[in-house]
């Protein structure tokens, strides 16, 4: 049994854990065992203009259990956001990521916090993967002061500068040139890091994407364009929107790799490969074959353009959390009960964060005018509406 591996715990929840004795029934520390395990990915990679990496991925119990916990956390967070939206605590747009967690988690496992990630509006889980806290997520969703953007951004504008997460963008496709700009800055400062610019199958048809790809290939930028292909651009299936749905091939002269996006280990392998490639040879496209269980956003039921059978079929066969659960159980890294305990723990964490976020106050009225311009210039600027509103720069 895996209990013998549990002597010391250095997991994220370590602070909450009592020293392990026999009271394991409440909490389950994540194993620190790093003995390598080799797992085969579900499907081989398909490549375009490059050599596909091997199907065998090195991992270890600690990593697998971390994957499980992180994905369970993200899943629970998104489902909680669903309920909050229906309770009208979250307004506007809310795009949920459940089903696609493997992409966020697998990517984080392959890179460091110095590499940049930029994505579109389905950013809650990517933000958490980059180190964002649940409190920041829920506060921002509810528009409170404790949010990561102080309540002024909303669901589509999560950013975390200190871990190089550049958002969080509402306009489809506009983040890809920004991502290539980040890669350009990395090349300019010669710091051997890469940028992952994520976009969806809908954004893959944007012209600015190809413009940015052209420039990145021309200037040899360490940019990795990741297409999270969940097969639907809002309500339009990919075969109705794209003449060539082989998004990894669309780079033409830029190499591409197609990855099973529901397999966190495959994602990890692909991202590792991509990072090495980008640092040496310039841009590469990764297509993550993934799926979202919810509709495009909370205003979309998600069942008018696809059948419920399809959704439940994917959930049964390809669910990322289930895959890791099976792996953990088959390698005897934890018991069923322990995994259920992790899920309970995660649920509690989410509920606590929501409760805390609900207590966070709404932003002050003066916050309306902060951060429009940057302070620190030592000059005053007078707005047109000089009597009441004045944007002061210092």
């Amino acid at each position: 049994m895996a209990l013998s591996h549990l002597a010391t715990s250095s997991s994220r929840s370590a602070a909450l854990l009592r020293p392990l004795s026999s009271s394991i029934y409440l909490r389950r520390p994540i194993s620190t065992d790093t003995t390598p395990i080799t797992v085969e990915t579900s499907v081989p990679f398909t490549s375009h203009q490059c050599e596909a990496p091997s199907r065998s991925v090195e991992t270890n119990p600690k990593e697998l259990l971390t994957f499980f916990r992180d994905m369970a956390l993200m899943r629970r967070m998104e489902i909680a956001a669903d309920s909050l939206y229906k309770a009208k605590l979250i307004r506007g747009f809310c795009h949920l990521y459940d089903g696609q967690e493997a992409v966020a988690v697998g990517m984080e496992a392959a890179i460091t916090k110095k590499d940049c990630i930029i994505t579109a509006y389905r950013d809650h889980c990517t933000f958490v993967g980059r180190g964002g806290t649940l409190l920041e997520v829920f506060s921002e969703l509810m528009g409170r002061q404790a949010g990561c953007s102080r309540g002024k951004g909303g669901s589509m504008h999560f950013y975390k500068k200190d871990s190089n997460f550049y958002g969080g963008h509402g306009i489809v496709g506009a983040q890809v040139p920004l991502g290539c700009g980040l890669a350009f800055a990395q090349k300019y400062s010669k710091d051997e890091n890469v940028t992952f610019a994520l976009y969806g199958d809908g954004a893959a048809n944007q012209g600015q994407l190809f413009e940015a790809l052209n420039i990145s290939a021309l200037w040899d930028l360490p940019a990795i364009l990741v297409c999270e292909n969940n097969h639907y651009g809002m309500g339009t299936a990919e075969w109705r929107a794209a003449k060539s749905p082989a998004y990894y091939k669309r780079g033409d002269y830029v190499p591409g790799l197609k990855v099973d996006g529901m397999d966190a280990l495959a994602v990890k392998q692909a991202c590792k490969f991509a990072k090495e490639h980008a640092l040496k040879n310039g841009p590469i496209i990764l297509e993550m074959d993934t799926y979202r269980y919810h509709g495009h956003s909370m205003s979309d039921p998600g069942s008018t353009y696809r059948t419920r059978d399809e959704i439940s079929g994917v959930r049964q066969e390809r669910d990322p959390i289930e895959r890791i659960r099976k792996l953990v159980l088959s390698h005897d890294l934890a018991t069923e009960k322990e995994l259920k305990d992790i899920e309970k723990e995660v649920r509690k964490e989410v509920d606590d964060a929501i409760a805390q976020a609900k207590e966070s106050p709404m932003p002050e009225p003066s916050e309306l005018f902060t951060n429009v311009f940057v302070k620190g210039l030592g000059v005053e600027s007078f707005g047109a509406d000089r009597k009441e509103v004045r944007a002061t720069l210092p």
Binding site: I118, G153, G181, W219, F373, G376, G378, F382
Partner: protein, 410 residues
């Protein structure tokens, strides 16, 4: 690209030394707001009080703190020496280049992106020679993809680089409108202050010499609503260099509007390091009877009209507003309080232009001081025609300005 180097003849006629019509020594020192002098101030900001003709000593008035790591320049010498060096003469595009070059030398994170800015030297020669000096990574030739390279500039700025994005013609930046509006203007706000976008977007715009409708656009009217950006328009070599440098040093995104016909203006500018305040208007000619607010090329039409007006006995006060967003309502307000009559002369179209906003702003804030309704002379609401005579009629001409002043002051 037939219309690249044009307007030399016309520009020379509107050259920047109409100083004979007013006495530059009789400067009006209306009480200005005081800038706090911070420690470690390093660069002299020379307030441009009527210093169109720079044979005068540039007054090293107040030092302003800009960035903590600003290199200390000859701030002391220009403040103390009363007879500073006479300066050097150059054309406006050379002044822009000088400003850009100095900033690129001073700060290695400044880079230039644009079409044909590198090896070609820039379609208006503003970046000539910079690629050989600073290399291809700092002076980047981009493909013709405004949307994406503006986006890339903004992305690079988010990390701390200071790109200067050039639109070969401002009109082309309409293709990058989404990036400028949503990302450039708003990211600082939507990220709760985490990211700053110290980008400069510059390029020539305005009505040129028969360039056609699509190449004669005045984008300041389209961009003025975007929150979070600053807009400035340069009109003389002196303020072109100063504004360029200030824009690059600013932590906010700045759009610097140049004008196709003003690139060959010649003026004498100081040798020492100086910058112009981004939010400040320039007093071109102090006066008593009417305040004429203008910017960019129309400044020269106004000064030409001013000559005629002076001969007719009027005393117009001419202010080059320079800062299109935000308006320098301080300078403007003081002037309105003095003259009680306002005429706005602009090159934007009538509908939704800078003049329209300025009219609203002045009415809102200074209605009590006005003796007559504000008059606004703008270009006609038409696409700029190709034919020379028609093009002349779309833009405001000096004769119209004279008539307007006479009407206003009757």
């Amino acid at each position: 690209m037939a219309a690249i180097f044009q307007g030399v003849g016309a520009a020379a006629a509107l050259s920047s030394s109409p100083s004979n019509s007013f006495d530059s020594k009789k400067l009006l020192f209306s009480p200005r707001r005081s800038f706090s002098v911070k420690k470690g101030a390093s660069v002299v900001v020379v307030r441009s009080d009527g210093n169109v003709n720079l044979d005068l000593n540039p007054r090293g008035r107040r030092a302003q703190q800009l960035i903590a790591n600003a290199v200390a320049t000859k701030a002391d010498s220009s403040a103390t020496s009363s007879s500073s060096k006479p300066g050097h003469e150059l054309l406006l595009f050379e002044a822009l280049r000088e400003g850009l070059e100095e900033e690129m030398e001073r700060d290695p994170s400044v880079c230039v992106m644009g079409e044909d800015v590198g090896h070609y030297g820039g379609s208006y020669k503003v970046t000539k020679g910079l690629a050989t000096k600073f290399g291809d990574l700092r002076v980047l030739d981009t493909p013709i993809a405004e949307n994406s390279f503006t986006g890339m500039g903004i992305g690079a700025a988010m990390t701390g680089l200071r790109p200067v994005v050039e639109g070969m013609n401002m009109g082309f930046l309409l293709l990058a409108f989404n990036q400028i509006s949503n990302n450039c203007g708003m990211l600082h706000y939507t990220s709760g202050g985490q990211f700053t976008i110290p980008i400069v977007i510059r390029g020539p715009g305005g009505v040129g010499r028969q360039l056609g409708a699509e190449h004669s656009q005045r984008l300041e009217s389209y961009f003025q609503s975007i929150p979070g950006i600053q807009m400035v328009a340069c009109s003389t070599p002196y303020n072109a260099k100063g504004l360029m440098k200030a824009a690059i040093r600013s932590e906010n995104p700045v759009i610097l509007f140049e004008h196709v016909l003003l690139y060959n203006l010649k003026e004498r500018i100081p040798d020492e390091d100086y910058i112009c305040n981004l939010e400040e208007a320039e007093m071109v000619r102090p006066g008593e009877h009417v305040t004429i607010l203008t910017y960019s090329r129309m400044r020269y039409h106004v000064m030409q009209a001013a000559k005629t007006l002076v001969n007719k006995g009027y005393d117009p006060e001419v202010i080059d507003i320079r800062s299109l967003k935000p308006f320098d309502l301080y300078t403007i307000g003081n002037s309105v309080k003095k003259t009680h009559r306002v005429l706005i002369v602009e090159e934007c179209m009538r509908t939704g232009g800078i003049g329209a906003s300025l009219t609203a702003a002045i009415n809102e804030n200074f209605l009590d001081y006005l003796d007559a309704p504000i008059m606004c002379l703008s270009s006609q609401d038409v696409p700029t025609p190709y034919a020379g005579t028609l093009e002349e009629w779309t833009v405001v001409q000096p004769a119209q300005i004279v008539t307007a002043v006479e009407q206003l002051c009757h």
